[in-house]
């Protein structure tokens, strides 16, 4: 039995397996070819025809390094076992090959785009793999957990099945809690014409309410004019982008932007999330037909940096522990925010060490691109697929790991735990909240 089929047997995922059972070979062939012909476009042609099969892109991929240079995990190796296979066999592929393709596309590639920076031609493997996911979506064989979040997006316009009243309730609750600390504290709901709308991802109200609390305290103590919406559009996250449900991705982004337009805010500030940012400035907006962002959206990294530079955030104390900074793919390879991120981090952790490589060449956390959202059946794929991250972290000798992205946090936590590294992971907001001057606090 080949290595490929061995792995296919091991991982069970009801979303893939039950979906595959219902498919006929004709359906598979027809769907593959129709997506390739209708949506593959010039870029697919250019990328597949340009590739000289040199393997230089392997250097880019954390999965490849973590699997002792197993070429199945090299970017071009993944394309070989997915899209090339589809193209050369004209869509006539077995269910076993298809399952392997689903696992590769959804759990062995984070769409981190690092390989674009390592291929001399700029072949965008992430684009090709995303197209494979689109085919997988159309075939109805997306991994169950992430498909569930996509369903939630479709039904509720948020990722976590939160009901409308739960959202507003959560904000009231956080406001209430924060008043013990800062009696004048407000989370202004539905304030038309405010300077900015703050949007978050649904896991914040669901599991990480303290992040909303902390952001609210920071904005309050800086004396900012801000608001949060009480309607849908508050959740900026987008798993549909990662499952290839582009129609839904477009609806989500339209809702988010229209929410900001309804509130007549000057801009949107979003929490410390990487993928949501990508959906907003790069993919979702394009699907709807906006070249750029119809309302400017600023990532927290940049916003905190601006507040710090403007002297609105004042450093009350610094922390002595040795800290390092993990650059999230979507904020560095996505928006070049690396210098701003470390400037904010260093303001509070002057004792700072860089991991190698860093900035736009940093290794991905292996949780991004929707991989962590594929849930428990695939957890070990990403943890074992990122041993190189553990080595990179360990080599810094740092006690504190600063990562301004939710997905990265999830992935890095698992890595730190599995490889027994002794590191505390922090968000920028969490650090600022702890260390800034809070004039209104009692």
């Amino acid at each position: 039995m080949s290595e490929q089929t061995k792995e296919t047997k091991v991982i069970e995922d009801i979303g893939i397996d039950a979906g595959l059972e219902q498919l006929t070979e004709e359906q598979i062939e027809k769907t593959i070819m129709s997506v390739i012909n209708a949506e593959g476009g010039t870029r697919l042609e250019a990328y597949t025809k340009t590739c000289v099969h040199c393997g230089l892109c392997s250097e880019a991929c954390h999965y490849y390094h973590s699997h002792d240079k197993d070429p199945q995990y090299a970017p071009v190796g993944k394309v070989r076992n997915t899209m090339w296979n589809f193209l050369t066999k004209k869509g006539k592929i077995s269910k076993e090959e298809l399952k392997r393709a689903v696992l590769i596309a959804h759990t062995e590639c984070n769409l981190c785009r690092r390989c674009v920076q390592y291929c001399p031609f700029g072949v965008d493997t992430a684009y090709i793999i995303a197209l494979v996911r689109r085919i997988v979506h159309k075939l109805g064989i997306t991994p169950q957990y992430i498909q569930d979040t996509a369903h939630s997006h479709a039904a509720t316009f948020n990722q976590m099945w939160l009901k409308d009243d739960e959202w507003v309730d959560t904000l009231f609750w956080q406001e209430d809690e924060a008043r013990d600390e800062i009696p004048s504290m407000r989370i202004p709901l539905e304030k038309e014409g405010a300077d900015f709308m703050y949007s978050v991802i649904a896991p914040e109200p669901k599991f990480r309410t303290q992040l909303i609390y902390q952001a609210a305290v920071i904005f309050n103590e800086c004396g900012l004019d801000w608001t949060m919406p009480s309607t849908t559009g508050w959740d900026n996250s987008d798993m549909c982008m990662f499952t290839g449900d582009f129609e839904m991705m477009g609806r989500l982004k339209r809702d988010h932007y229209e929410c900001a337009q309804r509130l007549k805010v000057k801009k949107v500030v979003m929490g410390e999330c990487g993928h949501a940012y990508r959906s907003i400035y790069d993919q979702g907006n394009r699907w709807v037909g906006w070249r750029d962002m119809p309302v400017p959206v600023i990532h927290s990294i940049q916003f905190f940096w601006e507040l710090l530079k403007a002297g609105k955030i004042k450093v009350a104390k610094t922390i002595d522990k040795l800290a390092t900074f993990h650059d999230p793919c979507n904020t560095v390879r996505g928006m070049g925010l690396h210098e701003m991120g470390r400037e904010v981090a260093k303001a509070f952790y002057p004792n700072f060490v860089e991991m190698q490589p860093n900035r736009e060449h940093n290794y991905c956390c292996a949780a991004g691109g929707g991989v962590i959202n594929c849930g428990p059946p695939h957890k070990m794929t990403r943890v074992l697929g990122n041993r190189v991250k553990a080595e990179q972290l360990k080599a810094t000798g740092a006690e504190v790991l600063i990562a301004p992205c939710h997905n990265c946090h999830g992935g890095l936590e698992d890595i730190i735990h599995h490889y027994k590294l002794d590191m505390e992971i922090r968000f920028l907001g969490d650090i600022i909240y702890e260390c800034m001057e809070k004039p209104n606090a009692v």
Binding site: L56, Q117, D282
Partner: protein, 219 residues
């Protein structure tokens, strides 16, 4: 032998150049047209500044991080590509043929220089072949097509070298040299050898996206 020679340097030569240049041109036009109809926004993001910035960065050895990480490959590939383009274009015999045929001419290399360059091309190809057998990823994605293309590029240089040094039968070598050179030209538009056209196209697009939209360098 003479009639083959005349055919190879006459009609076949014209055909090869027409297919080579016309094929690349058609490829370019069809890709741009297809992009205009199916992905018009590619042009919306296209930026000559960021596009060229990326192309230039990748044309300077050891500027891209991956170039620094693979120093041997970088040296070999730059030497190989420069010699591959320069040697045939400026070889005295080629320029003279061109002058006789269509009346155009330009500067030439000394034969000794061209000879060294030919050897560099062949050594480069040997290195690529070695790498395809030893680098795990290159090996994994190398099939018969890759070997045929390597051989196709090697053939005109090898036969040219042998003919110049009068090893084996001179006339046979010259004819083989011409035929294999034409075969290589014809193959370019239809195989990944077309990366000579696609490299600037893809890199310009990627450079535009990375520089213009994502504010980050792609090397």
């Amino acid at each position: 032998m003479h009639s083959i020679y005349n055919f190879a340097t006459g009609p076949l030569c014209w055909a090869a150049f027409i297919i080579f240049i016309g094929g690349l041109l058609l490829k370019f036009i069809s890709m741009v047209r297809r992009a205009r109809s199916s992905e018009p926004y590619i042009f919306g993001y296209f930026s000559p500044y960021f596009g060229l910035r990326s192309v230039i960065a990748w044309l300077i050895p050891f500027v891209p991080r991956n170039g620094k990480l693979n120093p041997v490959f970088t040296v070999v590939t730059f030497a190989f590509h420069i010699c591959l383009l320069v040697a045939p274009l400026f070889l005295m015999a080629h320029v003279m043929l061109l002058q006789e045929g269509v009346g155009m001419h330009w500067g030439t290399l000394s034969d000794a220089t061209a000879d060294v360059m030919t050897v560099i091309v062949l050594v480069g190809l040997a290195y690529f072949a070695y790498r395809r057998c030893t680098d795990p990823t290159a090996k994994y994605v190398t099939g018969p097509k890759e070997w045929v293309l390597l051989a196709l590029v090697a053939a005109p240089f090898l036969t040219g070298f042998l003919a110049y040094h009068q090893i084996f039968d001179y006339q046979v070598m010259v004819v083989l040299h011409i035929l294999s050179g034409e075969a290589m030209l014809i193959a370019i538009p239809f195989t990944w050898l077309s990366h000579m056209l696609l490299f600037p196209m893809v890199r310009m697009y990627q450079g535009s996206e990375f520089g213009g939209v994502r504010h980050v360098k792609d090397w």
